[in-house]
């Protein structure tokens, strides 16, 4: 080893790097993933977010240092993945989020029991991409057209537009897309994973069972549905009709057919019976199938006991996180465990339990399915709503059209305020928050005012999401932009600003795209071209620690 090199130990691994290398660079050479927000390769380290904090031991002195700006020295010992370091990173993230104004996911998304990514669906409709729209819808709901006739539409009550004039007609739009799809030559059917070699029995062909079967089949499992009725549909069959609030029979049949066509087997007139009786018993099912889902609606405690499942005074014993019953192989969901619930809830449960069973089959043990991390700013004041509406493409109250066609649908979808974060799929703040299990409300801070600034060129700036990393300031500075961006003020009130009476557009100039791309959160974004969502968004509700202010 020569003078120009340093030998450093990072989490017990030794690396030799040239003098002047930072701890972060050395760690990345070792393949260690130290989180960073304010660091951008090629720019001088900003050392402001402190999310990259590591413990550095040098000459017998231990200090918490930002890895991005700390040069290595010979003999330096660095700790990165320890509880102590994670604690500082977690607190840094919690502090940033305590001063964060914005929603990761839109209110409508949280209102929907199935967690449908409604804003994305609406954006697809708005630009006429109906095939993308149905694919997004079907990631959350297996029978959207059917559901749209009987859904109590909680999403529309959650819609922020509701406080402004009328909510976006999400349910109608969803029906329009789904029916358009059903009547097309090749209705959308998502691809299925290669055969897993595992078999699942679903007892009950109602909304829960059908949904679970749909997603389990997609996950590559062999699925058989048992039901006492000759035809699948469960309680949906009792809702058939042409009146408002009832499902047209051809819609129901078409959607069920689509599920069965994906490879799900249906065995009608095969009720589950107690062990004393002859017929389809739970013992038989557990012997023949790798997992069993009970989705047969409300049953008496006596029945559960009779088929061999434990009950307590609240009914069937079920782990609310994993849907697992007292028998490890047996799961239960929907009205079977909740009492009579809405069809929407049943659909959501079907999807969630499918995930749990999938995890059970692949990993051998059930896994709590958790909601993706998200911060919520809660209710907006009128003035804040107006700002949001100004940025949205269209505004004004829309009367529902007599006939839905692609034009009226696009117009209606255009009323969306896009409350969800434009940077959701790429936001590192959210990803790290999830990784470190942060509590964004630890400090009970009061939410700052919501602000949003839209520029004619399509650049959108949301100061509430700015973490003051300084990257955009540095980018304009190093490019010697004539006007430039700057920090304004000092301390807690520091924010990013443009000098004099100039606009953000003038300050960013040609650097706009570069700055938007470099922004670690959704503070800078483009109105159009929101990155496509890649995360699965559904899951069991267990939000107590994450529900917002």
């Amino acid at each position: 080893m020569n003078e120009a090199h340093c030998r450093v130990s990072i989490d017990g691994r030794i690396i030799e790097v040239p003098r002047g290398t930072t701890v972060l660079q050395a760690a990345r050479q070792l393949g260690l993933d130290i989180p960073t927000l304010c660091y951008l390769e090629g720019l001088k380290p900003q050392t402001s977010c402190l999310v990259c904090t590591v413990k550095v031991i040098e000459n017998g002195r231990a200090r918490m240092m930002p890895a991005c700006g700390t040069p290595v020295s010979d003999g330096m010992v660095v700790e990165s993945e320890t509880a102590e370091v994670a604690h500082v990173r977690r607190r840094a993230l919690e502090l940033i989020l305590s001063d964060h104004v914005g929603d990761c996911f839109a209110p409508c998304h949280y209102a929907c029991p199935a967690r449908m990514d409604i804003p994305t669906v609406l954006r697809h409709i708005q630009v006429g991409q109906l095939s993308e729209a149905i694919a997004t819808i079907k990631r959350a709901v297996a029978i959207p057209a059917t559901l749209s006739y009987v859904c109590p539409r909680p999403c529309e009550k959650g819609c922020r537009r509701h406080y402004l004039d009328e909510p976006v007609m999400i349910c109608q739009l969803s029906r329009f897309v789904a029916e358009k799809d059903l009547t097309s030559d090749a209705p959308y059917s998502p691809p299925c994973q290669p055969n897993s070699g595992r078999a699942v029995a679903v007892v009950g062909a109602g909304p829960t069972g059908l949904s679970a079967a749909f997603y389990l089949r997609q996950a590559g499992h062999q699925v058989t549905i048992f039901d006492s009725a000759p035809q699948p549909g469960g309680r949906l069959r009792q809702m058939i009709g042409e009146d408002a609030g009832r499902v047209p029979i051809d819609i129901l049949d078409a959607e069920i057919a689509l599920i069965l066509r994906s490879g799900v087997e249906y065995r009608g007139e095969t009720p589950l019976v107690t062990s004393e009786q002859s017929g389809l018993t739970l013992t038989l099912l557990t012997r023949q199938f790798d997992a069993v889902l009970l989705a047969f609606g409300e049953q008496s405690q006596g029945f559960y006991r009779a088929i061999g499942l434990a009950c307590d005074n609240r009914g069937l014993v079920v782990d609310r996180g994993t849907f697992q019953t007292s028998l490890p192989q047996v799961f239960a969901a929907g009205s079977a465990i909740r009492g009579r619930v809405s069809v929407a809830r049943s659909c959501a449960d079907g999807k969630s339990v499918a995930e749990c069973i999938d995890a059970f089959l692949r990993e051998g043990h059930p896994r709590n399915v958790t909601e993706p991390f998200g911060v919520r700013m809660g209710r907006l004041e009128k003035e804040e709503l107006d700002r949001l509406a100004q940025v949205a493409a269209r505004s004004g109250k829309e009367t529902p059209p007599q006939e839905w066609d692609i034009e009226t649908a696009r117009e209606q979808a255009g009323r969306c305020l896009h409350c969800d974060c434009r940077a959701l799929p790429v936001c590192r703040l959210r990803q790290y928050a999830e990784r470190y299990g942060v509590d964004p409300n630890r400090y009970r801070a009061q939410r700052a005012r919501f602000e949003i600034v839209s520029q004619p060129s399509g650049v959108i700036f949301e100061p509430g999401k700015c973490i003051l990393c300084g990257i955009c300031v540095e980018l304009t500075e190093s490019a010697r932009a004539p006007l430039g961006l700057t920090f304004i003020g000092r301390g807690f009130d520091v924010r990013i600003g443009v000098p004099f009476d100039k606009s953000l557009e003038e300050a960013l100039g040609e650097l706009a795209a570069q700055c938007v791309a470099a922004c670690p959160t959704g503070a800078l974004s483009f109105r159009e071209g929101k990155p496509q969502l890649t995360l699965p968004i559904l899951r069991v509700q267990n939000l107590s620690s994450q529900t917002s202010r």
Partner: protein
């Protein structure tokens, strides 16, 4: 119009925008020629940004947008830099201000003595609505300042250049009226020293900032006036701070023959009597005229010679002896004896002897070796070994090198550096000169905060004189050594005391600290090796070189050598600026020098090291003054603030107070400090407001530790110290707050004012209540309407029998001052309001302080002492 547009309106910095109540000000068009001249004078480089902004504000009294745009056209300074800088520093204003600016000091001493209530009283009196700072007539603008450095006079406000101390909310209307009255009479311009024959002796008038705040300038002027008028052959001399700030203004009369005499708390009207007592006019005509004047004065009752007696002081007098006896002056050597700006006097006392030795005889290595053997450590707070720093700068590659004097003393409650710069500018220059030789620098920069105009003025003058006399310049003391010095003024940012922020500020940027390493010693001003030392550190260097390292190292403890200057204030009998040998215990300082608790009070803690330090509880008062020992208590040596707290101080409130300060002064760069200090403050606010919850203390403590461990710079790392130490030593007070009680009776939402049975119905409380919360009921028991009460404390202070009490959690936590037995000797404390028990008469009890009664004489030869 606004400075920044459209981006965010979280906090606006309007420029040129008229507020509704300021219509008649600043509407004139901005004369841009002035800006051109300013740029011509300050330069066009990026580092000229702060001086340019200061000059613009000095002219326009705020920063007009047109002027700023013009600056960007004329200079290399880009808009982003200029706006970033202008909005970073507290000094700069973006709105036209009232005709007079009232600075309300929120320093620690002022805080514990009720600055908050003074602020409220001002706002109420001027009719300011929340968020406003200027009254409807545009006469006064009220601004909070971190510290005016007059801690012994707390609480203090400054209106333009006039300072008013020892205020109570009730005095505010009178103070403003007095100020306006003095304005309409026109102020007297100060005259230069009169020439003449001074064979009869000299009169030394303390002209440090605290003395001036107490009216010493007026005393000085009266001496001059009288001496000229009476043609008394004496010299009137200005001297620096003496340190006995609790006795200001101080005047020492040193006759050619006979003993010298010290007078304390001299008022302008005392001057004729003092002069008359010691000196006689020489010329017959003058004597006659003087005699006539005196006779006339007598007739008018102006002179009462007997009244003088109680004001003169003596070092043999026990309290004075105790105040001075434990002190040892090195950095503040010759305090009160020499004219700060007289180079000859400084030279006569061995000044620049050390520099001469360093420049002419010693090698750089020899100097560093000597400093190393002395054991000197940085006096700025962290205590880094000085010689080690010098060695790094010496060995660092890169030219030119710089020597920087960190005079950005911003701690509320600390004014050591100000006093040293004001009183001993040559000593600091000499220290810098020696350091420059040692590290091989040829350029030095004083960074002095703008709130210290007198220090800036004197240092500038001293540099100028040194240049004229060949001490500074291209040939220092006739040698080939070259050293130039200049002054940079800070612009109101505490964080600039951090060395990397200080350098950023000198470079004309926002004063944001950066990660170290690299240290300024290797990569500093302009990327060059830069030595940054504190004022006091430099002031100690000449003594070490002159007297030898051994003598210095003999003082103090194993790891902390020499002396330390402290600003002693708070709830003690005698406050002031003291210099003590290291190793002295806190108890010795508080009990012996400070004179202990105020009558009827119990001292419970001392806050050491300002906002970065901690509260050391009484149980630990035997801790010696030593870097390591103080750190072990959870405090730090810091720059030297010592604020003594007694049973009337709420420790949660103290923690909140310091956190408010650091939170406000955070540069806003790193997450943990920017948001972390704010969240800690919010929790403390909740606790003080009685909204605390179980678990708050744990969240607070965890956050405090994290901020301390992970923040980027010294400010963030030390900001939690006051919280952590109070949680450590006074956790029961926090817990009491969670139960809804404030044991000290300080936290307004947790207390209420109650009038007890013994009320005699004198109506004084009702008459004085500024919000009419006490209905007037002559000869009957009064009652406080809790809904209207603003907790201004006036009623408690005026009640002649102490019937107004403060209740918290259902029990009485504070009685009125008159409830205790008579106490007249303590300056400053609320218990010292004069007057005994007034039984029946409804009369106004004066709130002014009584004068202390100490008599005797001193010799001027006693030079190791203060006077």
């Amino acid at each position: 119009m606004s400075l920044i547009r459209g981006i965010s309106d979280r906090q606006s910095f309007p420029v040129g925008e008229m507020t509704a109540n300021a219509v008649d000000r600043g509407t004139a068009t901005v004369d841009l020629n002035i800006v051109d001249e300013i740029v011509e004078r300050c330069g066009r480089k990026p580092e000229a940004a702060i001086p340019i902004l200061q000059a613009i504000q000095a002219h326009f009294r705020y920063l007009p947008q047109e002027a700023l745009e013009r600056v960007c056209q004329l200079t290399e300074i880009r808009p982003s830099q200029l706006i970033g800088v202008a909005t970073f520093y507290g000094q700069f204003r973006f709105r036209p201000v009232g005709r007079h600016i009232i600075h309300v000091c929120h320093g620690t001493a002022c805080h514990v003595k009720g600055a908050e209530r003074i602020q409220e009283a001002l706002e109420r009196h001027l009719g300011l609505r929340p968020g406003e700072d200027t009254d409807p007539e545009g006469l006064f603008t009220v601004e909070k300042v971190a510290c005016l450095g007059c801690c012994t006079l707390a609480p203090v406000i400054q209106i333009d250049r006039s300072t008013y101390g020892r205020l109570t909310p009730a005095k505010i209307p009178r103070v403003l009226a007095d100020f306006l009255h003095a304005q309409s009479n026109g102020s007297h311009p100060s005259r230069g020293p009169s020439a003449g024959d001074f064979e009869e002796g000299e009169v030394r008038v303390g002209l440090g900032s605290c003395c001036q705040a107490q009216g010493s300038a007026e005393v000085y002027r009266r001496f001059e006036e009288l001496v000229t008028l009476a043609a008394v052959p004496i010299s009137i001399k200005r001297v620096g701070c003496v340190g006995m700030c609790h006795q200001t203004p101080l005047v020492e009369v040193v006759p050619r023959r006979g003993k010298s005499q010290v007078y304390a708390k001299v008022e302008p009207d005392d001057v004729p009597a003092i002069v008359h007592r010691h000196f006689r006019p020489r010329k017959l005509w003058s004597r006659l005229r003087y005699g006539l004047n005196r006779w006339l004065d007598h007739l008018l009752g102006d002179i009462d010679e007997d009244a003088l007696e109680p004001q003169s002081l003596d070092v043999r007098d026990p309290p004075v002896c105790a105040f001075l006896g434990r002190q040892l002056r090195i950095a503040t050597e010759l305090a009160g004896e020499i004219d700060p700006l007289s180079l000859d006097e400084y030279l006569a006392h061995g000044g620049f002897k050390a520099a001469e030795r360093a420049v002419k005889e010693w090698s750089a290595e020899q100097i560093i070796e000597e400093v190393k053997r002395s054991g000197l450590r940085g006096r700025g707070g962290a205590g880094f070994p000085t010689a080690e720093k010098w060695t790094v700068v010496r060995k660092a590659t890169g030219e030119p090198k710089y020597v920087t004097c960190n005079g950005d003393e911003g701690d509320p409650g600390a004014f050591m550096d100000r006093m040293i710069l004001e009183s001993f500018p040559y000593r600091v220059i000499e220290g810098m000169l020696i350091a420059a030789k040692a590290v091989g620098a040829h350029e030095g920069i004083f960074y002095i905060r703008a709130e210290y105009p007198l220090a800036v003025e004197r240092v500038r003058a001293a540099i100028h004189i040194c240049e004229e006399r060949g001490i500074l310049g291209d040939r220092v003391l006739g040698t080939d050594f070259r050293f130039h010095l200049r002054v940079n003024e800070g612009a109101g940012a505490f964080v600039c005391g951090e060395e990397t922020a200080l350098i950023a500020s000198m470079e004309g940027r926002r004063g944001m600290p950066r990660l170290r390493p690299p240290y300024p010693a290797e990569f500093g001003f302009g990327g060059r090796p830069t030595l940054v030392n504190n004022v006091e550190t430099f002031a100690l260097v000449p003594w070490i070189i002159r007297h030898g390292a051994e003598r210095f190292a003999r003082l103090g403890t194993a790891t902390s050598k020499g002396t330390k200057v402290f600003a002693l204030a708070g709830k003690i009998r005698r406050g002031g600026l003291i210099e003590v040998p290291m190793g002295i215990t806190l108890r010795e300082i508080i009990e012996e020098i400070g004179g202990g608790a105020l009558p009827g009070r119990r001292i419970k803690a001392v806050q050491v090291g300002g906002p970065s330090g901690g509260c050391v509880s009484e149980a630990l008062f035997d801790t010696p003054v030593d870097y390591e020992a103080l750190t072990a208590t959870g405090a730090i040596m810091g720059s030297g603030g010592l604020i003594v707290l007694d049973n009337t101080d709420c420790m949660v409130d103290i923690a909140r107070y310091f956190l408010r300060f650091t939170q406000d002064q955070s540069c806003g760069k790193c997450t943990l400090c920017r948001i972390g200090t704010r969240r800690m403050l919010e929790i403390l606010e909740r606790i003080c407001n009685g909204e605390g919850r179980a678990g708050d203390l744990e969240v607070l403590e965890d956050l405090a530790r994290t901020v301390s461990a992970g923040s980027l710079c010294g400010l963030g790392k030390t900001a939690p110290n006051p919280v952590l130490t109070t949680l450590r030593y006074f956790r029961e007070e926090y817990e009491a707050h969670l139960r809804g009680e404030c044991p000290a009776g300080k936290c307004s939402p947790l207390i209420r004012y109650v009038i007890a049975d013994q009320c005699i119905g004198c109506t004084l409380c009702a008459q004085n209540c500024p919000v009419g919360a006490i209905p007037l009921r002559p000869y009957r028991r009064h009652a406080v309407d809790d809904a209207k009460c603003t907790r201004c404390d006036t009623c408690r202070l005026v009640c002649p029998i102490g019937a107004v009490v403060v209740e918290s959690g259902g029990r009485v936590v504070a009685y009125g001052p008159m409830a205790q037995t008579n106490s007249t000797t303590s300056p400053g404390g609320p218990t010292s309001a004069s007057g005994g028990t007034c039984a029946t008469l409804p009369q106004f009890v004066p709130l002014s302080e009584g004068r202390s009664g100490i008599v005797a004489t001193a010799t001027s030869q006693n030079s190791g002492r203060a006077l």
